[in-house]
């Protein structure tokens, strides 16, 4: 098992190196980090100074190399825009993003599995048709528009029309000022962003789970289980579900990248200072240090994610277990 994990990580390293070089090069080409100094007094001199400070005169490979050597030693540099230490920027942002991902994945998986299994067992019932229609809508709906509609209809409109003190659901950040911890205030902040994050995942995964469950329910071993005299519920939940979850586990690993994409929109609209927001701000300013740190952190997470998915899969399916 350990060897498996190590091998995985080892193989990813060259890719990480090359990707970071490509991104570094691309951003250097497209963005000028001294741009914000153009408006200052004595711009020419300031810019020349900054250029020297940022090492912009050297060849790109050299610039990248100095960045890389510092990076692996833990010195992630300083942001061009905020002069903040990149490490603290990233870890702060990570905190927020982790919360979103955690709740988002949890809710998505639970709902998707439930809906999928229900739809498969009660195929063609009213519930199944309803869920299927909703899935079609969920997949076709642009997530950012969904977020805007949510804010409009569940938060702003009720507040103005019912003359409320504060909106039912909050849409800025994860806590009201002065609040912290897991409480009602937190939940009211979480609802809309988590919904936005999960709407597409639920739509796709529930259909997937439905198909997977239908496949499993027509398998021979289900027939055997029934022939043994087991009650229906046990047959479906014990014999069916475990097998039906396997494809979903693989699929979530594949879709994890899309989930990160959805994060950017969600954090932007709901003003949550997570990795997505960090990324957008850095991108707009060509803040190379932040962008690279962000990218590599993200890459590590994607790799981690895939690893976890593989391990879970092995736990569920004895045929795949690493001997």
């Amino acid at each position: 098992m350990l060897k498996f994990v190590l091998r995985r990580i080892l193989f990813s390293i060259p890719i990480l190196i090359i990707s970071s070089l490509l991104v570094f090069w691309g951003i250097r080409l497209a963005f000028d980090p001294t741009a914000r100094y153009r408006q200052s007094r004595d711009a020419a001199r300031v810019i020349a100074e900054k250029r020297k400070e940022f090492g912009l005169d050297r060849p790109i490979l050299a610039q990248w190399w100095s960045w890389a050597t510092k990076f692996v030693r833990g010195d992630w540099g300083v942001s061009y825009t905020t002069d903040d230490h990149v490490t603290s920027m990233v870890s702060r942002a990570l905190g927020f993003t982790m919360q979103l991902i955690f709740w988002g994945m949890l809710i998505s998986l639970v709902v998707a599995v439930f809906v999928g299994v229900y739809s498969a067992v009660r195929q063609y019932s009213f519930g199944d048709v309803l869920f299927t229609s909703l899935s079609y809508l969920g997949v076709a709906m642009p997530p950012f528009w969904f977020a805007l509609l949510l804010i409009q209809f569940t938060s702003v409109w009720p507040k103005t029309h019912w003359d409320l003190d504060r909106p039912i659901f909050f849409f800025v950040g994860l806590h009201s000022s002065g609040q912290s911890g897991i409480n009602m205030d937190y939940v009211r902040h979480l609802v809309l962003p988590v919904l936005t994050l999960s709407v597409q995942s639920i739509a796709v995964w529930s259909r997937f789970q439905r198909a997977s469950m239908l496949d499993v329910l027509s398998a021979d071993y289900i027939r055997t289980a029934r022939a043994k005299g087991l009650p229906r519920r046990k047959v479906i939940l014990k014999h069916g579900l475990r097998n039906a979850l396997l494809p979903l586990v693989s699929q979530t690993a594949v879709d994890s990248a899309a989930l990160f994409g959805g994060l950017v929109i969600t954090e932007q609209i709901f003003s949550i200072p997570g990795m997505g927001r960090l990324f957008l701000a850095a991108l707009q300013n060509g803040d190379v240090n932040v962008l690279l740190a962000w990218m590599l952190t993200g890459a590590v997470f994607v790799i981690l994610f895939n690893l976890i998915a593989d391990i879970v899969y092995g736990l569920l399916d004895p045929r795949i277990r690493v001997q």
């Binding site: 071993y221 055997t224 029934r226 022939a227 043994k228 005299g229 087991l230 014999h239």
Partner: protein, 335 residues
């Protein structure tokens, strides 16, 4: 009631509505099974043999339209709800399926799956339970039963998997054991081993067995009585001896003749085969289903009324051939 046969099917028919029309999977099948008896059901694929058995256990999909009667010790099964059937399944009537690789759940250990057969119907202590499982594995001839019980189906060989399935089905010493093509997915050498296991099982549990297969060779020496099916219909039923040595239906004859025999001279003789293809179960020809392929088919007789099983001679030997008396006149005159 003591006089009731163990299992009795009367005029069992199963229809499936499909996009292309109604499929008559099983058409008017009747037979009875006595305690400890082995009945072999023979026929090509699509002859309705498996569907008949699934109907007995109530395992057909909801869209199946089932008519007729299936009585187990006098109790009507077709009207029972799924919940009412559960105590019977795996306990009084058990089934062995064809492909053990797909019929066993790949994510659970073999021992656990066998244990599940038992705990579905009664509670046993953990030790007692594992003892029983190991006993069963031993009975079906699986070496190292203790280790094997903790393994997964994909770690077993094909023959061993089938034996494990057998172990699972006899766990509660059922009165009726239905074996649906238990040897079809196996190599010939393994086939013999599995049949031998079934023999042993029969001795141990004195269950009545319904052995379904398309291979006459498997039936020989194992079955007491034989039912021959074609296109969902019964065409001949009798004792094993009667069917093998005195077949009274052209289809049964054809099946027997197409068995490759080691005891006949081969000199230039080609393998006999029954010409043509089995009919579509949606578009059956009028009259006898075998008519288009029958070497003895006669216009106006064989394409007229539907043949039913009719007694020939004494005893229980029945044939559904409309021309049985003419075709087998010589043989019948002798007997």
């Amino acid at each position: 009631m003591a006089d009731d046969p163990l299992l009795e099917l009367t005029n069992l028919s199963v229809k499936f509505p499909t996009d292309d029309g109604i499929v008559h999977a099983v058409d008017n099948v009747s037979y009875s099974l006595a305690e400890g008896e082995t009945l072999g059901i023979v026929g090509e694929s699509g002859s309705g043999k498996s569907v008949t058995s699934l109907a007995i256990l109530g395992l057909l999909p909801k869209r199946a339209q089932i008519t007729g009667s299936v009585r187990f010790r006098g109790r009507e099964l077709l009207t029972l709800s799924d919940k009412e059937m559960q105590p019977l399944r795996g306990k009084n009537i058990a089934m062995i399926f064809q492909d053990a690789l797909t019929s066993l759940n790949p994510v659970f250990r073999v021992g656990d799956q066998i244990a599940e057969s038992i705990t579905a119907h009664r509670t046993l202590g953990k030790d007692q339970l594992s003892e029983r499982v190991i006993d069963l594995l031993e009975l079906v001839g699986i070496p190292n039963p203790k280790e094997r019980a903790n393994q997964y189906p994909h770690e077993f060989s094909g023959g061993m998997r089938q034996r494990a399935m057998i172990a699972m089905s006899i766990a509660n010493e059922p009165d009726v054991l239905i074996a649906d093509e238990p040897t079809t997915a196996l190599d010939v050498t393994i086939q013999a081993q599995v049949l031998e296991v079934m023999d042993r099982v029969k001795d141990r549990t004195s269950s009545a067995i319904v052995l379904i297969t398309h291979d006459l060779g498997v039936i020989a020496g194992v079955a007491d009585r034989v039912l021959v099916m074609y296109a969902g219909r019964p065409v001949e039923i009798g004792t094993a001896d009667e069917i093998f040595y005195k077949p009274r239906h052209p289809y049964a004859e054809g099946l027997l003749a197409s068995l490759p025999r080691l005891d006949r001279r081969s000199g230039g003789e080609r393998l006999h085969r029954i010409k043509g293809q089995p009919p579509s179960l949606v578009l059956l020809p009028p009259g006898c289903a075998f008519n288009p392929r029958c070497p003895h088919a006669k216009h106006n007789i064989c394409d007229g009324p539907r043949p039913e099983l009719v007694s020939i001679g004494r005893g229980e030997h029945k044939s559904a051939c409309l021309r049985v008396n003419e075709i087998y006149a010589d043989e019948m005159a002798v007997s």
